[in-house]
C-alpha cells in the first residue's frame, strides 16, 4: 500500500490497518492484524467456508477477498454475532443441539446460518442443506447442525420447539 494505513469497518467499528502488504487477504488482516481470529483458515481457497464473514448483505469467504477491497463496507465477523456478550439464538442453538465438536467450522457456519435466517425464517431441510453446503464440517456429519438451524428458526418465529 502506498498509504500508511487504510480503514476497515468491522462489526460496526472502524479499524486502521497499518503497514500492510497489498496482497493480504481479508482473512489474514482480520486474524493477524486486527485481532479477529474467529474467522478460520482451513483451506484458504474458498472451499471450506470456515473463513465466512458477511460484507454488507453477502456472505463471502474472506480468504478470497483482498482486504483493501473491503474498504467502506460493513464487515460482520463471528465476533459481531454476540456483540453485547449475549449469545445469539443460533449460537445458543448450536450449543443446545450438540452442533459443536472440534468447533473449527463453527464460526463460518454461524455467520452463514445467521444470514440464512435473516432472509428466510422458515427454511426447509433442503434449503438449509444447500445454504450450508459451502461450509465443510468434518466432525458432525451435519445432523446436529441441521437440528440447531431448525431450533434457531423456530425461536425466531416465536415457536417453542419440542
Amino acid at each position: 500500500m502506498s498509504n500508511d494505513f487504510y480503514t476497515l469497518n468491522v462489526n460496526g467499528k472502524d479499524h486502521q490497518v497499518a503497514d500492510s502488504w497489498v496482497g493480504e487477504s481479508l482473512l489474514w488482516v482480520l486474524r493477524e492484524r486486527l485481532g479477529f481470529p474467529g474467522a478460520k483458515n482451513a483451506c484458504e481457497e474458498g472451499e471450506c467456508g470456515s473463513c465466512s464473514v458477511r460484507i454488507g448483505e453477502e456472505v463471502v469467504c474472506s480468504c478470497l477477498v483482498l482486504a483493501g477491497s473491503a474498504i467502506e463496507q460493513d464487515i460482520t465477523t463471528i465476533e459481531g454475532l454476540s456483540a453485547e456478550g449475549e449469545l445469539s439464538d443460533v449460537q445458543q442453538a448450536f450449543i443446545d443441539a450438540g452442533a459443536v465438536q472440534c468447533g473449527f467450522c463453527t464460526p463460518g457456519l454461524l455467520v452463514t446460518i445467521d444470514d440464512l435466517l435473516e432472509k428466510n425464517k422458515n427454511p426447509d431441510d433442503l434449503t438449509v442443506r444447500e445454504a450450508i453446503s459451502g461450509n465443510l464440517c468434518r466432525c458432525t456429519g451435519y445432523g446436529r447442525i441441521l437440528e440447531a438451524v431448525q431450533m434457531a428458526a423456530a425461536s425466531r418465529r416465536g415457536e417453542k420447539r419440542e
Binding site: 502488504w21 496482497g23 486474524r31 493477524e32 479477529f36 481470529p37 474467529g38 474467522a39 478460520k40 483458515n41 482451513a42 483451506c43 484458504e44 481457497e45 472451499e47 471450506c48 470456515s50 465477523t77 463471528i78 465476533e79 454475532l81 454476540s82 449469545l87 449460537q91 445458543q92 448450536f94 450449543i95 443446545d96 443441539a97 450438540g98 459443536v100 465438536q101 472440534c102 468447533g103 473449527f104 467450522c105 463453527t106 464460526p107 454461524l110 433442503l126 438449509v128 442443506r129 444447500e130 450450508i132 453446503s133 459451502g134 461450509n135 465443510l136 464440517c137 468434518r138 466432525c139 458432525t140 456429519g141 451435519y142 445432523g143 446436529r144 447442525i145 441441521l146 437440528e147 420447539r161
Partner: protein
C-alpha cells in the same frame, strides 16, 4: 434430538445426561484459541521446504541465498538437527529432515523462520536443492521382492495368522479381491503451533496433537535434550481422526525457536497438510470364505496388503488390527490370514479412525453378501447365523469375555423403519440439481453391513492414563493430559467428577506434560475408558479422603455418609456439612489407571491381544443413475453397541460424524497418488461430504449392555461408526447396479463403462 435438556443448570449434568460442552460458548463466539490462533508479540513465522519428488538423491543443498533475504532469521537443514535424526511412533525411521535421500513427495528438506509468511515463502523458494531423481517404488505388491528403499527394509510387518484347521474346505466357497483407496482425515484445523524458547535451554511447545507425552518423548530425542525440558501444552485442536498421532511440525518449530531464541509460529496450508500427515492405508485384499450348506462359516482365507508409504508410523499396529478382525464379527472356527504392510515411496500412512478394521470390513462384508447369494439366503440371516457372541473365539483364539451384542446390532438395524420422507426435489437426485439425472432411470439399492474393532491399545502395550483431582472449597479441578480434539472428553470429565463428588463446579486444567503424566493417545476409541477411568479413580480417592476426614473429625461411620448436591449427609439425617466447608483444607489424588493386561500375538497370530470390542451395523439406501454413474446416499440407519450411554447428544454426534467419514470413503474420498505424487492435495480436488452429500443418519438402537471392567460400563464409541458405514454404502450401490464394485471409493467410471476411443 427433541430430548435435549437446555433449561437445566449445568451443575446438574451427570453421567447419562446430555451435558453441554464446557468449551461450547467460546467455540460459538469465535474466541476459542485453536493452535492456528496462537500469537506472541515477538514471534517469527516458520515454514518448511518439501521435496517435489517421491524418490531422489539430494546432491546439493544450498541455503546461502535464502539467508541473505531481509527478514529471514534462520534456515535449518538435516545437519542442524541437534539430537536423533529420526523419529517415529512405534519405530524411529522417519528423518526430521531428509539427509541424502527423500523417500516421499513432500518430505521436509529445510525449515525457515522469518518476519512474515510471505518472506518465509520467498526464502523457501531461494533454497537451492539439486535432486537426482530415482525411480520410485510405488507398487506395494512388489515392495517385498525389490531392493530396499530404507536401511530398515521394505516390510514393516507381516502377520501369518493361523487358527484351527488350515486345510478344511467348505461345500460353499466364495472368493473376491477388494481394494480400498487412500483416505485423508481432512480435519479442518490445519497443523499449527507455537514454540517458545525457554531461558533454561528448554522449550515450550503449544500444539494441536492427540498424544502430548508421545510427542514429548520424540521431540526431546530429536532435540537432544531431556524430556522434562520439553514442555508441551495442548493448543485448541481442530479435529484429528488419527492424523495428529504422529509428529508433524513439532521438532521443526522447536529447532527454529531454539536457534533464533524467538517464539516461532507455523501453520500448514491445506496443500501442505495433505503432505504433512499420514493417511489411511490403501488396501488390497483377497478373500476366500468357506461355509457349509446351512450357511455356517467353516474357514476364512485372506491376504491383506497395506501400503504403508515411506515411513513406519503406526503401520505395525494397523496391520495387526486388519489381520485380527479380517473375518468380521462372526464365529469363524478356522482361518488363515496373511497380513502384510510394506514400505513404498508413496505418502506415509498411519492412523485413521477405524485403524485397519475399515479396510477389512469392506472386504468381509462383500464376502458375506456373496455367500448369501451363493446360498440363496437372506444377507441379514446369514450374518445373524454366524454372529459372534460372548464366549466365542476370535481368529486370534481369544475368547470374548465382555459383551458382544452382534446379533442385536444387526437385528435392530435391519428391522428399523425409517422415518424420513421421500423427496421429489431435483436437488435430491444423484448429482443434485446441476446434473441431469433422470428420475425414470434411477435405481435404488439397500444393504446392510456390520463391523467391529478393539478398544484401547493391544498386544501387551502398557496402556494407561493419568489424572489429578484437586478438591478445594467445594470446587474440583481435574488435570489430565487427554487431548480434547472435539470428541467431548472435556464434557465427560465434568460429568464423571460431578457424579462422584456431587460438586457443582468442575474446572478442567490445561492438558500439559508439565502437570500430569501421560493420558495415552486420543485414538483407538480409548479415552472414555482410559482417561474417563483415570478421572473416576482420582475422584473416588478424593471422595474417600473427604469422607475419612469427616469420619475422623465427627466420629461418624463412613458407611453412614453420602454425597448429595454439594452436601455430605448422614443417612439418618443427624449430620450434614457442605462439601465447600469440608474441603476448605484441600484434598488431592494423583492416579494412574490401566486396563486389564493384554498379550502379544504369537508366531501364528494367536493370543489374548485385545481388551474389549465394540460393534456397529449400518444399513444404507442409495439412488444411482446408472447411465451417468451418479450416486446419492439417501439414508443411513445404524445400531451401535456402546456399553452404557454417558452423554446422548455427544454420542449421536459421534455416530453421525463417523458415518459421514464412512460415506466419504464409499463414494468420494480418495487421495489420488500417481507415481508417488499426490494429485489432489486441496479441498477443491479432495472432496469430503457436504450437507448436500450427507444423508440423515437414523439411529435404530444404541445398545446398552454394561461392559465388565469398563468405567461406568461404557465402551468407546468413536470408531465403530466409520467401520461398517462404508461397507453398507458400497453394498447398496452393488444392489442398485448389479455390478461387483470391488473397490472404494466407487467412482463414476466404475458404474459407467467408458468405451475406449481408438
Amino acid at each position: 434430538m427433541s430430548d435435549v435438556k437446555t433449561e437445566t443448570p449445568i451443575s446438574s449434568f451427570r453421567i447419562g445426561d446430555s451435558a453441554p460442552r464446557p468449551d461450547g460458548i467460546p467455540k460459538v463466539k469465535g474466541t476459542f484459541a485453536f493452535s492456528s490462533d496462537l500469537w506472541h508479540e515477538k514471534m517469527l513465522w516458520g515454514g518448511t521446504l518439501r521435496s517435489p519428488y517421491p524418490a531422489a538423491r539430494i546432491n546439493k543443498l544450498d541455503i546461502t541465498e535464502a539467508l541473505l533475504i531481509d527478514g529471514v532469521h534462520t534456515v535449518l537443514t538435516h545437519d542442524d538437527v541437534p539430537g536423533e535424526a529420526v523419529y517415529g511412533l512405534e519405530h524411529a525411521d522417519q528423518p526430521v529432515m531428509a539427509a541424502e535421500v527423500v523417500r516421499y513427495e513432500g518430505e521436509p528438506v529445510a525449515i525457515v523462520a522469518a518476519d512474515h509468511p510471505e518472506i518465509v515463502r520467498r526464502a523457501l523458494a531461494a533454497i537451492n536443492v539439486e535432486y537426482e531423481e530415482m525411480v520410485p517404488l510405488t507398487d506395494p505388491e512388489i515392495a517385498e521382492s525389490v531392493g530396499h528403499i530404507h536401511p530398515d527394509g521394505n516390510v514393516f510387518r507381516k502377520i501369518n495368522l493361523r487358527h484351527g484347521d488350515q486345510e478344511i474346505q467348505g461345500d460353499i466357497q466364495v472368493e473376491g479381491v477388494y481394494e480400498v483407496g487412500m483416505q485423508d482425515q481432512a480435519f479442518l484445523g490445519p497443523e499449527s503451533g507455537l514454540a517458545v524458547p525457554g531461558e533454561d535451554g528448554g522449550v515450550d511447545l503449544y500444539v494441536s496433537t492427540q498424544w502430548l507425552h508421545a510427542d514429548r518423548r520424540q521431540v526431546a530425542s530429536c532435540l537432544g535434550i531431556k524430556e522434562e525440558d520439553v514442555r508441551i501444552t495442548l493448543a485448541g485442536v481442530g479435529g484429528a481422526f488419527g492424523a495428529r498421532e504422529d509428529l508433524s511440525l513439532h521438532v521443526h518449530l522447536c529447532m527454529l525457536a531454539m536457534r533464533t531464541n524467538r517464539p516461532v509460529k507455523m501453520i500448514y496450508s491445506r496443500e501442505e497438510s495433505f503432505h504433512g500427515h499420514v493417511h489411511r492405508h490403501p488396501a488390497k485384499m483377497w478373500y476366500r470364505h468357506h461355509a457349509d450348506r446351512e450357511g455356517n462359516l467353516v474357514r476364512v482365507e485372506a491376504r491383506v496388503l497395506l501400503d504403508g508409504g515411506a515411513y513406519a508410523s503406526s503401520s505395525g499396529a494397523v496391520i495387526a488390527n486388519a489381520a485380527c478382525f479380517a473375518g468380521g464379527p462372526y464365529r469363524i472356527p478356522n482361518a488363515n490370514i496373511e497380513g502384510i504392510v510394506v514400505r513404498t515411496n508413496n505418502p506415509p500412512c498411519g492412523a485413521m479412525r477405524g485403524f485397519g478394521a475399515v479396510q477389512t470390513c469392506m472386504g468381509h462384508e462383500a464376502q458375506m453378501d456373496k455367500l448369501a447369494v451363493a446360498l440363496n439366503a437372506d444377507p441379514v440371516e446369514i450374518r445373524l447365523k454366524n454372529a459372534l457372541k460372548t464366549g466365542d473365539q476370535l481368529l486370534t483364539g481369544q475368547i470374548i469375555t465382555g459383551t458382544a451384542p452382534v446379533a442385536e446390532v444387526i437385528r435392530t438395524c435391519a428391522e428399523h423403519v425409517p422415518s424420513s420422507q421421500e423427496s421429489s426435489d431435483l436437488m435430491s437426485l444423484p448429482g443434485g440439481a446441476g446434473r441431469t439425472a433422470d428420475p425414470e432411470h434411477i435405481s435404488r439399492g439397500e444393504a446392510i453391513a456390520v463391523g467391529f474393532k478393539n478398544l484401547m491399545f493391544s498386544e501387551g502395550f502398557d496402556d494407561f492414563s493419568s489424572a489429578v483431582c484437586h478438591l478445594e472449597d467445594g470446587v474440583a479441578t481435574i488435570t489430565c493430559a487427554c487431548a480434547e480434539v472435539g470428541q467431548g472428553f472435556v464434557t465427560l470429565a465434568q460429568q464423571i467428577t460431578r457424579e462422584i463428588l456431587g460438586v457443582e463446579e468442575v474446572i478442567l486444567a490445561p492438558a500439559a506434560t508439565e502437570t500430569v503424566g501421560s493420558a495415552g493417545s486420543t485414538s483407538a476409541s480409548r479415552q472414555t475408558w482410559m482417561s474417563g477411568g483415570a478421572v473416576q479413580k482420582a475422584c473416588e480417592e478424593v471422595r474417600l479422603k473427604l469422607l475419612q476426614r469427616i469420619t475422623e473429625e465427627h466420629e461418624i461411620s463412613i458407611d453412614d455418609l453420602v454425597l448429595v448436591e454439594g452436601q455430605v449427609l448422614s443417612l439418618n439425617g443427624d449430620f450434614s456439612i457442605s462439601i465447600d466447608a469440608a474441603s476448605e483444607n484441600p484434598l488431592e489424588a494423583r492416579v494412574e489407571y490401566r486396563h486389564a493386561p493384554t498379550f502379544p500375538l504369537d508366531e501364528n497370530g494367536q493370543g489374548d491381544a485385545h481388551v474389549s470390542f465394540a460393534f456397529a451395523a449400518h444399513r444404507a439406501v442409495v439412488d444411482v443413475d446408472p447411465e451417468l454413474g451418479l450416486v446419492k446416499v439417501v439414508e443411513l440407519v445404524t445400531s451401535q453397541d456402546v456399553g452404557r450411554l454417558l452423554n446422548p447428544v455427544q454420542a449421536i454426534g459421534q455416530l453421525e460424524g463417523g458415518a459421514a467419514q464412512g460415506v466419504g470413503l464409499a463414494v468420494m474420498e480418495e487421495v489420488l497418488v500417481a507415481e508417488g505424487n499426490i494429485r489432489n492435495a486441496s479441498f477443491t480436488d479432495y472432496l469430503i461430504p457436504t450437507a448436500l452429500d450427507m444423508p440423515p443418519v437414523e439411529i435404530a438402537a444404541i445398545i446398552e449392555h454394561p461392559e465388565p471392567g469398563a468405567p461406568f460400563g461404557a465402551k468407546g464409541i468413536g470408531e465403530p461408526p466409520s467401520i461398517s458405514s462404508t461397507a453398507a454404502v458400497v453394498a447398496a450401490i452393488r444392489e442398485a447396479t448389479n455390478l461387483e464394485l470391488p473397490r472404494v471409493p466407487v467412482r463414476l467410471t466404475d458404474i459407467v463403462s467408458v468405451e475406449e476411443s481408438s
